[in-house]
């Protein structure tokens, strides 16, 4: 098993004929993702350059293909609408790659789309190595195995995965939840799934300064996952307060969201915090042997 997606997951792409959507559809197909088609209003009935059917509406796409998952590449002013449309058509899992969606739009979407899990927005997506990839992650960096990973960042995730793979740790599912202040799926949401996944034997959590998601994750681990070997990393330990660095969510205000508070929370939950990405495999090795 893996979480959120496996080799049979049927995916549609909203914004499939745009340059980003089209390019990453090719990458996902190369990786083996079962992409059933895409949606671009007004281009229904056409075929994409990949030979996939294009539909005018998500409802048409779902009716014709039975897709459950969507990957959204539409521009920010239309992204909330795309998510509402997906929800209305019965999609249960949406990965929103779009960066720069008004935060009030995101608030409205997450509050009113029960039954649909949203990854992102402004995220690289997720991958179950060897099975399927939804989003923009470079598939070849990953290797199938038993370590689950959740991260707020993109390139740092690839860095960490690369280190894990080189150290002999393959991955079950890696989720890039996004660095925005309001996101659909948090660390805790992913932990809940990983706790019940038979393939996942250990976890790596890549957090960041700002917010309290990591503290919430630590509390959850303490209560619900005491046996799981978990290693954490916090990016931005040396960032100054008051200014966001790249990710809008990576901002420290007052005593909230500091690296110190996150490290303390993880350590109190028995989760060692690596002081640098390269220390992650070593800390993992103290808890679980390399498998791949």
């Amino acid at each position: 098993m893996s979480i959120f997606l496996d080799k049979n997951t049927k995916v549609i792409v909203q914004g499939i004929t745009g340059s980003e959507g089209s390019y990453h559809t090719s990458r996902m197909l190369e990786y083996g993702t079962k992409i059933a088609g895409g949606v671009t209003p007004g281009k229904g009935g056409q075929k994409t350059e990949h030979g996939l059917p294009v539909f005018d509406t998500v409802r048409d796409a779902v009716d014709a293909t039975g897709a459950t998952h969507t990957c959204i590449f539409v521009p920010p002013p239309f992204a909330a609408d795309a998510l509402f449309e997906a929800h209305d058509a019965g999609i249960t899992f949406a990965v929103c790659i779009t960066e720069g969606i008004p935060v009030h739009d995101v608030l409205r979407v997450v509050a009113t789309t029960p039954g649909m899990r949203i990854i992102g927005p402004n995220c690289p997506g997720l991958i179950s190595p060897g099975k399927s990839l939804i989003g923009i992650m470079p598939g070849h960096v990953f290797k199938e195995g038993s370590v689950g990973l959740v991260s707020r960042s993109g390139t740092l995730t690839y860095e960490v995965v690369d280190l894990l793979t080189r150290a002999g740790y393959g991955q079950s599912t890696c989720v890039g939840i996004g660095g925005d202040p309001i996101i659909g799926t948090t660390f805790v949401d992913c932990l809940r799934e990983f706790a019940n996944d038979s393939q996942t034997e250990a976890l790596v959590l890549c957090g960041e300064i700002g917010g309290s998601d990591e503290e919430d994750a630590a509390a959850f681990i303490r209560e619900h996952m005491p046996g799981m070997p978990i290693v954490a990393f916090i990016g931005g330990m040396n960032a100054p307060p008051g200014k966001s660095l790249g990710h809008a969510g990576a901002i420290i205000s007052g005593a909230f969201g500091t690296a110190q508070s996150k490290i303390a929370a993880f350590e109190a939950a028995g989760v060692p915090v690596a002081d640098r990405p390269s220390a992650i495999p070593g800390l993992l090795a103290q808890r679980v042997p390399a498998t791949v």
Partner: protein
């Protein structure tokens, strides 16, 4: 986008939130002209985005129109004193002149977005006039919060409940629910990330008024309100943001610090981790820089020049993980950028990993640039070279 006080108060007026009688003026003579004799005392406030106006002597009282002119002149004569983010301070281009209020109490009232509950949160405290961070340290129990269910929206009971919970002076009670309703309305109408009234004052004649206004609008939502474009053009970017914009980067992608190890990385998370690596190696980073997606020659050159021209970097640590962006493309970009830049040359430490790593390394080697193997090694080498 952070609004100036006078702009925030313009929005407050639209939502019926009471603000002191006053006017905005860009020149001392104009300020004096607008001062009517029926007001016994005025307060003249510098319109700047930097905090700490009071301490900097940029808020002053005046008793006559002539007095208003000379006080405004004095306030506008010098910039706000510099701080870390604004090493040159901030020019005072205008003032807000308001009737001086007979204040008996100061409270705090704000609305923001709560990440954990994913709801708007309204915060109220009876300790107004100081930073909310300070209040949350000294009197955490004094802050009353309400997380609004947006499907239901605001209803006056929320304001009443908060006023009781925060133990606001009874003088606030009658006006308070409508004021909170006002900031809630503005929050949604204009896509704000924060609206703060600090202080919300109670006067000796029983009025409740927003004595200050802090409004942060969501940059991503500005397209919905084109009217703010005009305001945006009048607002100063802080220097780092302005420099980033000139280099073609997002305003959040670049920040300067005091160290001497320049950093360039792709992706915000990796860029932060790169800074951490420099610190771990015993050095000090000169900046945060996320080149964003792609790293062609022009972009790498712009970033390189941005860092060497505007920070104290004595060495440059370039840390790229090639995911979708291929290492050979990045390597070509680096070589070309360094060959064509007219800025000063500093030693380079390059670390390239990921897609097409081998080809990338070869391109660098052919150009007599030797990449390091890992992020830690790169940081150590950069710190050594900067010493």
């Amino acid at each position: 986008m952070n609004l100036m006080e006078y702009q925030g108060k313009e929005l407050f007026r639209r939502a019926g939130i009471p603000v002191p009688r006053g006017y905005h003026a860009a020149a001392p003579a104009r300020a004096a002209e607008l001062a009517t004799p029926d007001v016994p005392e005025w307060v003249v406030k510098a319109q700047v985005l930097m905090g700490g106006r009071g301490k900097a002597g940029k808020v002053k009282f005046a008793k006559s129109p002539d007095d208003v002119a000379s006080v405004a002149e004095e306030i506008m004569a010098t910039p706000m004193p510099p701080n870390r983010q604004n090493p040159k301070g901030e020019r005072v281009n205008s003032v807000l002149v308001e009737e001086k209020l007979p204040i008996v109490k100061e409270a705090y009232c704000a609305i923001a977005i709560d990440r954990t509950t994913k709801r708007p949160v309204i915060m109220v405290s009876r300790f107004g006039g100081m930073d909310i961070e300070e209040v949350s340290e000294k009197h955490p129990e004094s802050i009353a919060k309400f997380f609004v269910d947006t499907a239901i929206g605001y209803s006056p009971f929320i304001g009443r409940e908060l006023a009781f919970q925060a133990e606001l002076d009874p003088g606030y009670r009658k006006a308070f629910p409508a004021i909170v309703g006002g900031i809630y309305e503005l929050f949604f109408r204009y896509g704000a990330k924060l609206i703060e009234i600090n202080p919300l004052v109670l006067t000796s004649d029983g009025r409740v008024m927003a004595s200050d206004a802090k409004v942060e609008l969501d940059d991503d939502a500005l397209y919905k309100n084109p009217e703010f474009k005009e305001w945006q053009e009048t607002l100063p970017l802080d220097e780092d943001e302005a420099l980033a914009a000139q280099a073609g980067l997002g305003t959040r992608n670049f920040r300067r610090f005091d160290g001497n190890v320049g950093t360039i990385a792709n992706g915000a998370g990796l860029a932060m981790a790169t800074m951490d690596a420099v610190r771990n190696a015993g050095g000090n980073f000169a900046n945060f820089l996320d080149v964003g997606g792609g790293a062609n020659a022009e972009r790498v050159r712009n970033c390189y020049e941005l860092v060497v021209n505007h920070t104290g970097a004595k060495v440059m640590f370039i840390n790229i993980f090639g995911g979708i962006t291929r290492c050979d493309e990045v390597a070509k970009g680096i070589v070309e950028a360094l060959n064509t830049t007219k800025s000063r040359k500093v030693p380079l430490v390059i670390r390239l990993t990921g897609t097409n790593e081998e080809q990338g390394r070869k391109i660098l080697a052919d150009a007599k640039m030797t990449p390091v193997e890992t992020m830690d090694q790169g940081a150590a080498r950069a710190v050594e070279l900067a010493a």
